[in-house]
Symmetry: C2
């Protein structure tokens, strides 16, 4: 997918030209560090791609795209404090490398910097862009709160779906919507591309849940089984508990505990129950359902074949990851 | 000052009509709690007053004013985590009453809510308003970082002045500037009212430092000597160290220590050195200097007498607090 790669390169160049080496260094060093940790830059590139596909000049979206990427990294930075996560992208997290006060305050600064870039994006569409961005920022916080709540409470699959929609999916929709707004796309197209992104985002998160258990470690880029070790209530976990009866249910209950004596064994046991109960198949069906729903929204938009294909390839890229 | 009181009442009514009782309650209860703790609402009312004095309708500024107040409370909420502060306005702070994860995330949500209200303020002046607001938000974070740095490093008075300018003063300037922008004031007036507010803000903070030592406890509303007990490097502290020689310097050094065995005695000793060295007089001179500088900027603005007096009364209200 040449266009996606070209836009990723353009975005990375734009980011590299911005300097975050400012004073006081205790505040800005963690920001510079975070933004240089890398990452796939999917969200900003989605915004650039949407502008391009709706007939705009992607260069007009570079500022908003950087605002989006800074916001995304801000949420990760604060989430890492809340989740006690020591490692992000193979490197120490900010609160580990510095401390949690520094992580709180440099995160807050990144949130303001994100708005600074968004503000410099498009005077014509500014209020519309901000309404999407504000709403999304609030929803992402709500999603994170539900995620924290669910660590200690019983939840059903519907609650889980609401959580991942808020925490992950709406932001993907918002990136595309902001790109479309900057291109001056029609209102109904703007809404359809948003819902395309939102449903794609749900499929993306379910796929992530699946890869965490059944992914190819080399291609997935991290060790599988992490969600099982931490008792994370993923789609697979919830589906397994929904389906399991008798001894299987007992095995799930006995192994999804804090401080399991043998984590490798735990992953092996849980995985065998998942396989027995066809949990992966159920997950595939859900992924397919949201993926197709996304494509239905895309189908409502009058794009030429080239642009439509570029966006379809984006969807495939996000979902059809090797594993 | 009838206008200030009227606008305070109008603001409080507007705030009371907004509901923050939303879901998830773990996220929104602390926001509702924080915004109901009260406070003097000086910053939002400054924005309303500026709009009114520059010939606009203050009602057009209610949304921005609420954004300003929510932002201010967000900074207090996160500062309280960083400063380990258990009490705010006589009540437990959010991180004490709930926990620090809740305080981080509900603070982040307040930051986004602040932008939501700002975005709904004035379509015409939106980009200008946001530029002021973004810049100020970043500066407030920088000021807080310097403040934290200075807890463990030697600083001079110039560094202290830069810190209070960033942490406190620029925000007062920004409130007036945003109000003026919504009224459609001329560019040079907008800049002058900003510098009026900024210099007033520095005077306000120095006055706060002074009242913390020499205030009338009944009128000041809190026990004096708090800054001395916590070894806070205020203007008075720095000035005293600049002036003290011989035994006085030794007494300062021996008493400005962590875990002093007798805090009442500590306050008494330090206060007597401050009195001996005329530190209060030096502080009064600085307050007067910034206050007059503020009035010079105000003098450059062509306002009718009534409006000019309203703003002068605001300045007096902020500075000439009884003690």
């Amino acid at each position: 997918m040449k266009k996606f790669e070209k836009l990723t390169r353009e975005f990375n160049e734009f980011l590299a030209n911005e300097s975050f080496k400012r004073q006081p260094k205790e505040l800005y060093d963690p920001i510079d560090y975070t933004l240089k940790l890398g990452g796939k830059r999917i969200r900003p590139v989605m915004a650039l791609l949407a502008t391009d596909c709706f007939g705009g000049d992607y260069k007009d979206t570079l500022n908003a795209a950087l605002g989006i990427e800074i916001f995304h990294n801000f949420t990760l930075l604060h989430d890492d404090i809340m989740d006690d996560a020591p490692i992000r992208r193979g490197q120490p997290t900010v609160y580990q490398k510095w401390n949690s006060n520094i992580a709180i305050l440099s995160g807050d600064t990144m949130f303001a910097l994100a708005y600074e870039y968004i503000t410099n994006s498009s005077p014509d569409a500014l209020q519309k862009i901000l309404r999407v961005f504000n709403k999304t920022a609030i929803e992402v916080c709500e999603g994170q709160q539900y995620d924290m709540n669910y660590e200690t409470s019983e939840i059903c699959i519907d609650e889980y779906m609401r959580m991942i929609k808020l925490k992950t999916a709406v932001f993907l929709g918002a990136c595309l919507k902001i790109g479309a707004l900057i291109a001056g796309a029609e209102d109904k197209d703007v809404e359809n591309i948003y819902h395309f992104g939102e449903n794609l985002g749900i499929a993306f998160q379910l796929q992530d849940d699946l890869l965490d258990v059944f992914g190819n470690e080399d291609k997935f880029g991290k060790k599988t089984g992490g969600d099982i070790v931490t008792n994370k209530k993923t789609y697979l976990y919830l589906k397994a508990f929904e389906l399991a009866k008798g001894d299987d249910l007992k095995t799930l209950e006995e192994n999804f505990i804090q401080n399991h004596p043998n984590n490798e064994k735990k992953v092996e046991i849980i995985k065998s129950i998942y396989i027995k109960l066809n949990v992966a198949d159920y997950t595939h069906i859900e992924i397919g359902r949201y993926y197709n729903l996304a494509l239905q929204y895309l189908g409502k938009i009058s794009l030429n074949d080239d642009n439509s294909n570029d966006i379809k390839q984006l969807a495939e890229r996000l979902i059809k990851r090797d594993y």
